[in-house]
Chain length 219, copies 2
Amino acid sequence: MRELFHDQLDAMFADLAGICRQVETAVGLATQALMTGDAAIAEQVISGDIEIDRAREAVEETAFSVLSLQQPVAGDLRTVVSALRMVSELERMGDLSVHVAKIARLRVPELAVPVEAQPTVSRMGEVAEDMVRRVSQIITGRDVEAAIALGRDDEVMDQLRRKSFTELLSDDWAGGVEAAVDIALLGRYYERIADHAVSVANRIVFVVTGHNPSALPLE
Amino acid sequence: MRELFHDQLDAMFADLAGICRQVETAVGLATQALMTGDAAIAEQVISGDIEIDRAREAVEETAFSVLSLQQPVAGDLRTVVSALRMVSELERMGDLSVHVAKIARLRVPELAVPVEAQPTVSRMGEVAEDMVRRVSQIITGRDVEAAIALGRDDEVMDQLRRKSFTELLSDDWAGGVEAAVDIALLGRYYERIADHAVSVANRIVFVVTGHNPSALPLE
Protein backbone atom coordinates (compact mmCIF):
# COMPACT_ATOMS: atom_id res chain seq x y z
CA MET A 1 0.00 0.00 0.00
CA ARG A 2 2.75 2.43 0.96
CA GLU A 3 4.72 1.49 -2.11
CA LEU A 4 1.71 1.97 -4.37
CA PHE A 5 1.10 5.33 -2.71
CA HIS A 6 4.64 6.48 -3.38
CA ASP A 7 4.47 5.26 -6.98
CA GLN A 8 1.29 7.28 -7.43
CA LEU A 9 2.91 10.34 -5.91
CA ASP A 10 5.91 9.95 -8.21
CA ALA A 11 3.63 9.68 -11.23
CA MET A 12 1.72 12.78 -10.08
CA PHE A 13 4.92 14.80 -9.73
CA ALA A 14 6.10 13.61 -13.14
CA ASP A 15 2.79 14.87 -14.55
CA LEU A 16 3.25 18.21 -12.78
CA ALA A 17 6.73 18.56 -14.28
CA GLY A 18 5.24 17.74 -17.71
CA ILE A 19 2.57 20.44 -17.33
CA CYS A 20 5.29 22.85 -16.25
CA ARG A 21 7.18 22.14 -19.48
CA GLN A 22 3.97 22.82 -21.44
CA VAL A 23 3.69 26.14 -19.58
CA GLU A 24 7.34 26.91 -20.36
CA THR A 25 6.58 26.40 -24.08
CA ALA A 26 3.47 28.59 -23.80
CA VAL A 27 5.38 31.41 -22.10
CA GLY A 28 8.17 31.22 -24.70
CA LEU A 29 5.80 31.20 -27.67
CA ALA A 30 3.65 33.99 -26.22
CA THR A 31 6.72 36.20 -25.88
CA GLN A 32 7.80 35.28 -29.40
CA ALA A 33 4.33 36.18 -30.75
CA LEU A 34 4.53 39.47 -28.87
CA MET A 35 7.97 40.45 -30.12
CA THR A 36 7.37 39.38 -33.74
CA GLY A 37 3.63 40.10 -34.16
CA ASP A 38 3.18 36.58 -35.50
CA ALA A 39 -0.54 35.81 -35.30
CA ALA A 40 -0.09 32.09 -35.96
CA ILE A 41 2.18 31.68 -32.95
CA ALA A 42 -0.25 33.66 -30.79
CA GLU A 43 -3.08 31.36 -31.95
CA GLN A 44 -0.97 28.34 -31.09
CA VAL A 45 -0.65 29.52 -27.48
CA ILE A 46 -4.33 30.43 -27.23
CA SER A 47 -5.70 27.23 -28.71
CA GLY A 48 -3.06 25.06 -27.03
CA ASP A 49 -4.14 26.11 -23.55
CA ILE A 50 -6.90 23.49 -23.54
CA GLU A 51 -4.21 20.82 -23.32
CA ILE A 52 -2.84 22.33 -20.13
CA ASP A 53 -6.39 22.45 -18.77
CA ARG A 54 -6.90 18.77 -19.60
CA ALA A 55 -3.58 17.77 -18.06
CA ARG A 56 -4.61 19.66 -14.96
CA GLU A 57 -7.88 17.75 -14.75
CA ALA A 58 -6.01 14.45 -15.04
CA VAL A 59 -3.73 15.35 -12.13
CA GLU A 60 -6.73 16.45 -10.07
CA GLU A 61 -8.49 13.16 -10.68
CA THR A 62 -5.36 11.24 -9.67
CA ALA A 63 -5.05 13.33 -6.52
CA PHE A 64 -8.69 12.72 -5.56
CA SER A 65 -8.29 9.04 -6.22
CA VAL A 66 -5.17 8.91 -4.03
CA LEU A 67 -6.92 10.84 -1.26
CA SER A 68 -9.98 8.56 -1.39
CA LEU A 69 -8.25 5.21 -1.72
CA GLN A 70 -5.03 5.71 0.22
CA GLN A 71 -6.36 8.04 2.90
CA PRO A 72 -2.98 9.66 3.51
CA VAL A 73 -2.39 11.57 6.74
CA ALA A 74 0.19 14.07 8.04
CA GLY A 75 2.99 14.79 5.56
CA ASP A 76 1.58 12.51 2.87
CA LEU A 77 -1.75 14.32 3.01
CA ARG A 78 -0.02 17.69 2.74
CA THR A 79 1.95 16.44 -0.24
CA VAL A 80 -1.18 15.47 -2.16
CA VAL A 81 -2.91 18.75 -1.30
CA SER A 82 0.25 20.62 -2.35
CA ALA A 83 0.13 18.82 -5.69
CA LEU A 84 -3.47 20.01 -6.15
CA ARG A 85 -2.37 23.56 -5.44
CA MET A 86 0.64 23.34 -7.74
CA VAL A 87 -1.47 22.13 -10.64
CA SER A 88 -3.88 25.05 -10.14
CA GLU A 89 -1.00 27.48 -10.23
CA LEU A 90 0.52 25.89 -13.32
CA GLU A 91 -2.81 26.17 -15.09
CA ARG A 92 -3.00 29.85 -14.11
CA MET A 93 0.47 30.37 -15.58
CA GLY A 94 -0.86 28.88 -18.81
CA ASP A 95 -3.81 31.30 -18.70
CA LEU A 96 -1.45 34.22 -18.19
CA SER A 97 0.56 33.13 -21.26
CA VAL A 98 -2.73 33.21 -23.17
CA HIS A 99 -3.30 36.79 -21.98
CA VAL A 100 0.14 37.75 -23.33
CA ALA A 101 -0.63 36.02 -26.63
CA LYS A 102 -4.00 37.81 -26.87
CA ILE A 103 -2.35 41.22 -26.55
CA ALA A 104 0.04 40.18 -29.35
CA ARG A 105 -2.90 39.03 -31.52
CA LEU A 106 -4.93 42.17 -30.84
CA ARG A 107 -2.23 44.40 -32.35
CA VAL A 108 -1.34 42.28 -35.42
CA PRO A 109 0.02 43.33 -37.94
CA GLU A 110 1.54 45.96 -35.65
CA LEU A 111 3.74 45.13 -32.69
CA ALA A 112 2.12 45.77 -29.31
CA VAL A 113 5.46 46.86 -27.88
CA PRO A 114 7.18 49.89 -29.46
CA VAL A 115 10.92 49.69 -30.14
CA GLU A 116 11.98 51.66 -27.07
CA ALA A 117 10.19 49.26 -24.71
CA GLN A 118 11.22 46.04 -26.44
CA PRO A 119 14.41 45.33 -24.46
CA THR A 120 12.64 45.46 -21.09
CA VAL A 121 9.53 43.57 -22.17
CA SER A 122 11.45 40.84 -23.98
CA ARG A 123 13.72 40.52 -20.93
CA MET A 124 10.61 40.02 -18.76
CA GLY A 125 9.53 37.26 -21.12
CA GLU A 126 12.95 35.61 -20.94
CA VAL A 127 13.06 35.81 -17.14
CA ALA A 128 9.55 34.36 -16.85
CA GLU A 129 10.38 31.51 -19.23
CA ASP A 130 13.63 30.79 -17.42
CA MET A 131 11.85 30.70 -14.05
CA VAL A 132 9.26 28.25 -15.39
CA ARG A 133 12.06 26.09 -16.86
CA ARG A 134 13.75 25.99 -13.46
CA VAL A 135 10.47 25.07 -11.78
CA SER A 136 10.06 21.95 -13.89
CA GLN A 137 13.58 20.90 -12.89
CA ILE A 138 12.79 21.71 -9.26
CA ILE A 139 9.66 19.54 -9.42
CA THR A 140 11.49 16.67 -11.12
CA GLY A 141 14.48 16.74 -8.75
CA ARG A 142 12.57 17.83 -5.61
CA ASP A 143 15.43 20.34 -5.51
CA VAL A 144 15.08 22.45 -2.35
CA GLU A 145 18.21 24.53 -2.91
CA ALA A 146 17.19 25.47 -6.45
CA ALA A 147 13.70 26.30 -5.15
CA ILE A 148 15.06 28.66 -2.50
CA ALA A 149 17.36 30.27 -5.09
CA LEU A 150 14.39 30.83 -7.40
CA GLY A 151 12.59 32.73 -4.64
CA ARG A 152 15.57 35.06 -4.32
CA ASP A 153 15.74 35.67 -8.08
CA ASP A 154 12.13 36.83 -8.18
CA GLU A 155 13.56 40.27 -7.39
CA VAL A 156 14.87 40.41 -10.99
CA MET A 157 11.29 40.46 -12.30
CA ASP A 158 10.30 43.15 -9.81
CA GLN A 159 13.21 45.29 -10.99
CA LEU A 160 12.21 44.83 -14.64
CA ARG A 161 8.66 45.82 -13.84
CA ARG A 162 9.83 48.98 -12.08
CA LYS A 163 12.13 49.75 -15.02
CA SER A 164 9.22 49.29 -17.40
CA PHE A 165 7.05 51.74 -15.43
CA THR A 166 9.90 54.26 -15.44
CA GLU A 167 10.11 53.98 -19.22
CA LEU A 168 6.36 54.35 -19.75
CA LEU A 169 6.01 57.29 -17.43
CA SER A 170 9.07 59.24 -18.58
CA ASP A 171 8.66 62.47 -20.48
CA ASP A 172 10.47 60.82 -23.39
CA TRP A 173 7.79 58.14 -23.82
CA ALA A 174 6.66 58.35 -27.45
CA GLY A 175 4.70 55.10 -27.53
CA GLY A 176 1.33 56.61 -26.72
CA VAL A 177 -1.39 55.54 -24.30
CA GLU A 178 -2.37 52.29 -26.00
CA ALA A 179 1.12 50.81 -25.94
CA ALA A 180 1.63 52.01 -22.36
CA VAL A 181 -1.56 50.25 -21.26
CA ASP A 182 -0.55 47.07 -23.13
CA ILE A 183 2.91 47.09 -21.56
CA ALA A 184 1.57 47.72 -18.04
CA LEU A 185 -0.73 44.70 -18.42
CA LEU A 186 2.01 42.57 -20.00
CA GLY A 187 4.24 43.45 -17.05
CA ARG A 188 1.47 42.36 -14.71
CA TYR A 189 1.04 39.04 -16.53
CA TYR A 190 4.77 38.25 -16.53
CA GLU A 191 5.02 39.26 -12.88
CA ARG A 192 2.18 36.89 -11.99
CA ILE A 193 3.83 34.06 -13.94
CA ALA A 194 6.98 34.70 -11.89
CA ASP A 195 4.98 34.85 -8.63
CA HIS A 196 3.34 31.52 -9.37
CA ALA A 197 6.70 30.00 -10.33
CA VAL A 198 8.08 31.01 -6.93
CA SER A 199 4.98 29.72 -5.21
CA VAL A 200 5.21 26.31 -6.92
CA ALA A 201 8.91 26.13 -6.01
CA ASN A 202 8.03 26.97 -2.39
CA ARG A 203 5.49 24.17 -2.34
CA ILE A 204 8.24 21.76 -3.39
CA VAL A 205 10.31 23.00 -0.43
CA PHE A 206 7.31 22.33 1.79
CA VAL A 207 6.72 18.87 0.34
CA VAL A 208 10.37 17.88 0.84
CA THR A 209 11.16 19.54 4.17
CA GLY A 210 7.75 19.96 5.79
CA HIS A 211 8.47 23.68 6.22
CA ASN A 212 7.80 26.79 4.20
CA PRO A 213 10.92 28.51 2.85
CA SER A 214 10.30 31.56 5.08
CA ALA A 215 10.72 29.25 8.09
CA LEU A 216 14.02 27.80 6.85
CA PRO A 217 17.39 29.22 7.90
CA LEU A 218 19.14 31.13 5.11
CA GLU A 219 22.69 30.08 4.30
CA MET B 1 -18.54 10.67 13.63
CA ARG B 2 -20.73 11.73 10.69
CA GLU B 3 -22.44 14.30 12.87
CA LEU B 4 -19.11 15.66 14.06
CA PHE B 5 -17.94 15.80 10.44
CA HIS B 6 -20.95 17.81 9.37
CA ASP B 7 -20.60 20.15 12.33
CA GLN B 8 -16.99 20.73 11.32
CA LEU B 9 -18.00 21.37 7.71
CA ASP B 10 -20.66 23.84 8.85
CA ALA B 11 -18.11 25.65 11.00
CA MET B 12 -15.69 25.76 8.07
CA PHE B 13 -18.29 27.25 5.75
CA ALA B 14 -19.26 29.80 8.42
CA ASP B 15 -15.57 30.78 8.57
CA LEU B 16 -15.45 31.07 4.76
CA ALA B 17 -18.49 33.36 4.80
CA GLY B 18 -16.80 35.42 7.53
CA ILE B 19 -13.63 35.80 5.43
CA CYS B 20 -15.80 36.75 2.46
CA ARG B 21 -17.34 39.55 4.53
CA GLN B 22 -13.83 40.75 5.45
CA VAL B 23 -12.99 40.78 1.71
CA GLU B 24 -16.20 42.71 0.98
CA THR B 25 -15.10 45.37 3.49
CA ALA B 26 -11.61 45.44 1.94
CA VAL B 27 -12.98 45.90 -1.59
CA GLY B 28 -15.36 48.64 -0.43
CA LEU B 29 -12.68 50.53 1.51
CA ALA B 30 -10.13 50.18 -1.30
CA THR B 31 -12.58 51.76 -3.75
CA GLN B 32 -13.36 54.49 -1.25
CA ALA B 33 -9.62 55.21 -0.80
CA LEU B 34 -9.26 55.31 -4.58
CA MET B 35 -12.14 57.68 -5.21
CA THR B 36 -11.35 60.03 -2.30
CA GLY B 37 -7.53 59.82 -2.17
CA ASP B 38 -7.77 59.10 1.55
CA ALA B 39 -4.41 57.63 2.59
CA ALA B 40 -5.67 56.46 6.00
CA ILE B 41 -8.36 54.31 4.41
CA ALA B 42 -5.83 52.88 1.93
CA GLU B 43 -3.53 52.02 4.87
CA GLN B 44 -6.41 50.33 6.65
CA VAL B 45 -6.92 47.98 3.69
CA ILE B 46 -3.19 47.32 3.31
CA SER B 47 -2.47 46.63 6.99
CA GLY B 48 -5.77 44.80 7.52
CA ASP B 49 -4.94 42.14 4.94
CA ILE B 50 -2.94 40.17 7.50
CA GLU B 51 -6.21 39.32 9.24
CA ILE B 52 -7.59 37.75 6.07
CA ASP B 53 -4.33 35.80 5.74
CA ARG B 54 -4.63 34.56 9.35
CA ALA B 55 -8.26 33.59 8.89
CA ARG B 56 -7.26 31.66 5.79
CA GLU B 57 -4.60 29.75 7.73
CA ALA B 58 -7.16 28.83 10.37
CA VAL B 59 -9.54 27.41 7.74
CA GLU B 60 -6.66 25.48 6.15
CA GLU B 61 -5.70 23.95 9.48
CA THR B 62 -9.30 22.93 10.10
CA ALA B 63 -9.53 21.39 6.62
CA PHE B 64 -6.32 19.39 7.13
CA SER B 65 -7.52 18.23 10.50
CA VAL B 66 -10.85 17.11 9.00
CA LEU B 67 -9.07 15.30 6.16
CA SER B 68 -6.68 13.54 8.56
CA LEU B 69 -9.12 12.60 11.29
CA GLN B 70 -12.35 12.01 9.39
CA GLN B 71 -10.86 10.59 6.17
CA PRO B 72 -13.80 11.73 4.06
CA VAL B 73 -14.35 10.12 0.65
CA ALA B 74 -16.37 10.92 -2.48
CA GLY B 75 -18.55 14.03 -2.16
CA ASP B 76 -17.38 14.78 1.38
CA LEU B 77 -13.77 14.75 0.24
CA ARG B 78 -14.53 17.06 -2.65
CA THR B 79 -16.35 19.42 -0.29
CA VAL B 80 -13.32 19.76 1.99
CA VAL B 81 -10.97 20.24 -0.98
CA SER B 82 -13.40 22.82 -2.41
CA ALA B 83 -13.26 24.69 0.90
CA LEU B 84 -9.46 24.77 0.65
CA ARG B 85 -9.74 26.23 -2.83
CA MET B 86 -12.37 28.76 -1.85
CA VAL B 87 -10.26 30.06 1.00
CA SER B 88 -7.28 30.50 -1.36
CA GLU B 89 -9.44 32.48 -3.74
CA LEU B 90 -10.87 34.65 -0.99
CA GLU B 91 -7.36 35.43 0.19
CA ARG B 92 -6.41 36.40 -3.38
CA MET B 93 -9.41 38.74 -3.51
CA GLY B 94 -8.05 40.37 -0.35
CA ASP B 95 -4.64 40.75 -2.03
CA LEU B 96 -6.27 42.34 -5.07
CA SER B 97 -8.04 44.86 -2.81
CA VAL B 98 -4.60 45.68 -1.40
CA HIS B 99 -3.35 46.32 -4.95
CA VAL B 100 -6.23 48.76 -5.50
CA ALA B 101 -5.46 50.48 -2.19
CA LYS B 102 -1.77 50.74 -3.09
CA ILE B 103 -2.54 52.56 -6.34
CA ALA B 104 -4.72 54.96 -4.31
CA ARG B 105 -1.89 55.49 -1.80
CA LEU B 106 0.75 55.98 -4.50
CA ARG B 107 -1.09 59.01 -5.92
CA VAL B 108 -2.06 60.74 -2.64
CA PRO B 109 -2.73 63.70 -2.37
CA GLU B 110 -3.87 63.46 -5.99
CA LEU B 111 -6.58 61.10 -7.17
CA ALA B 112 -5.34 58.17 -9.29
CA VAL B 113 -8.49 58.34 -11.42
CA PRO B 114 -9.18 61.57 -13.35
CA VAL B 115 -12.71 62.96 -13.33
CA GLU B 116 -13.67 61.62 -16.76
CA ALA B 117 -12.87 58.03 -15.75
CA GLN B 118 -14.40 58.15 -12.29
CA PRO B 119 -17.91 56.92 -13.19
CA THR B 120 -16.64 53.73 -14.85
CA VAL B 121 -13.97 52.94 -12.27
CA SER B 122 -16.24 53.58 -9.29
CA ARG B 123 -18.91 51.44 -10.94
CA MET B 124 -16.35 48.61 -11.27
CA GLY B 125 -15.65 48.97 -7.56
CA GLU B 126 -19.37 48.83 -6.74
CA VAL B 127 -19.95 45.79 -8.95
CA ALA B 128 -16.98 43.97 -7.40
CA GLU B 129 -18.14 44.76 -3.88
CA ASP B 130 -21.69 43.69 -4.68
CA MET B 131 -20.46 40.40 -6.17
CA VAL B 132 -18.39 39.68 -3.05
CA ARG B 133 -21.39 40.51 -0.85
CA ARG B 134 -23.52 38.05 -2.81
CA VAL B 135 -20.83 35.39 -2.50
CA SER B 136 -20.92 35.52 1.30
CA GLN B 137 -24.69 35.02 1.16
CA ILE B 138 -24.22 32.19 -1.36
CA ILE B 139 -21.73 30.49 0.98
CA THR B 140 -23.97 30.94 4.02
CA GLY B 141 -27.13 29.73 2.30
CA ARG B 142 -25.44 27.19 -0.02
CA ASP B 143 -27.58 29.04 -2.57
CA VAL B 144 -27.17 27.36 -5.97
CA GLU B 145 -29.60 29.63 -7.84
CA ALA B 146 -27.90 32.78 -6.58
CA ALA B 147 -24.53 31.25 -7.49
CA ILE B 148 -25.59 30.55 -11.06
CA ALA B 149 -27.08 34.06 -11.34
CA LEU B 150 -23.76 35.53 -10.16
CA GLY B 151 -21.96 33.75 -12.97
CA ARG B 152 -24.29 35.36 -15.48
CA ASP B 153 -23.78 38.84 -14.01
CA ASP B 154 -20.03 38.61 -14.42
CA GLU B 155 -20.67 39.99 -17.92
CA VAL B 156 -21.39 43.38 -16.30
CA MET B 157 -17.77 43.61 -15.14
CA ASP B 158 -16.51 42.63 -18.59
CA GLN B 159 -18.62 45.38 -20.16
CA LEU B 160 -17.28 47.94 -17.70
CA ARG B 161 -13.73 46.90 -18.46
CA ARG B 162 -14.32 47.29 -22.20
CA LYS B 163 -15.94 50.69 -21.59
CA SER B 164 -12.93 51.72 -19.53
CA PHE B 165 -10.52 50.76 -22.34
CA THR B 166 -12.64 52.69 -24.83
CA GLU B 167 -12.39 55.77 -22.60
CA LEU B 168 -8.62 55.47 -22.12
CA LEU B 169 -7.88 54.90 -25.77
CA SER B 170 -10.18 57.55 -27.21
CA ASP B 171 -8.74 60.67 -28.83
CA ASP B 172 -10.48 62.71 -26.14
CA TRP B 173 -8.52 61.11 -23.31
CA ALA B 174 -6.86 63.96 -21.42
CA GLY B 175 -5.79 61.93 -18.38
CA GLY B 176 -2.29 61.18 -19.62
CA VAL B 177 -0.28 57.96 -19.65
CA GLU B 178 0.12 57.53 -15.88
CA ALA B 179 -3.61 57.61 -15.16
CA ALA B 180 -4.31 55.33 -18.14
CA VAL B 181 -1.83 52.77 -16.82
CA ASP B 182 -3.30 53.01 -13.31
CA ILE B 183 -6.83 52.55 -14.63
CA ALA B 184 -5.89 49.60 -16.84
CA LEU B 185 -4.36 47.87 -13.81
CA LEU B 186 -7.30 48.82 -11.57
CA GLY B 187 -9.63 47.31 -14.17
CA ARG B 188 -7.57 44.15 -14.14
CA TYR B 189 -7.71 43.94 -10.32
CA TYR B 190 -11.48 44.46 -10.18
CA GLU B 191 -11.97 41.97 -13.00
CA ARG B 192 -9.94 39.37 -11.11
CA ILE B 193 -11.95 40.00 -7.94
CA ALA B 194 -15.10 39.37 -9.99
CA ASP B 195 -13.59 36.23 -11.59
CA HIS B 196 -12.72 34.82 -8.17
CA ALA B 197 -16.20 35.68 -6.86
CA VAL B 198 -17.74 33.68 -9.71
CA SER B 199 -15.31 30.85 -9.12
CA VAL B 200 -16.14 30.65 -5.40
CA ALA B 201 -19.86 30.72 -6.25
CA ASN B 202 -19.29 27.89 -8.76
CA ARG B 203 -17.56 25.85 -6.09
CA ILE B 204 -20.64 26.20 -3.91
CA VAL B 205 -22.72 24.85 -6.81
CA PHE B 206 -20.31 21.93 -7.01
CA VAL B 207 -20.40 21.29 -3.27
CA VAL B 208 -24.22 21.26 -3.21
CA THR B 209 -25.00 19.51 -6.50
CA GLY B 210 -21.83 17.54 -7.26
CA HIS B 211 -21.70 19.21 -10.68
CA ASN B 212 -20.00 22.25 -12.09
CA PRO B 213 -22.40 25.00 -13.21
CA SER B 214 -21.36 24.52 -16.86
CA ALA B 215 -22.77 20.97 -16.64
CA LEU B 216 -26.12 22.13 -15.24
CA PRO B 217 -29.13 22.85 -17.46
CA LEU B 218 -29.92 26.55 -17.76
CA GLU B 219 -33.44 27.61 -17.00
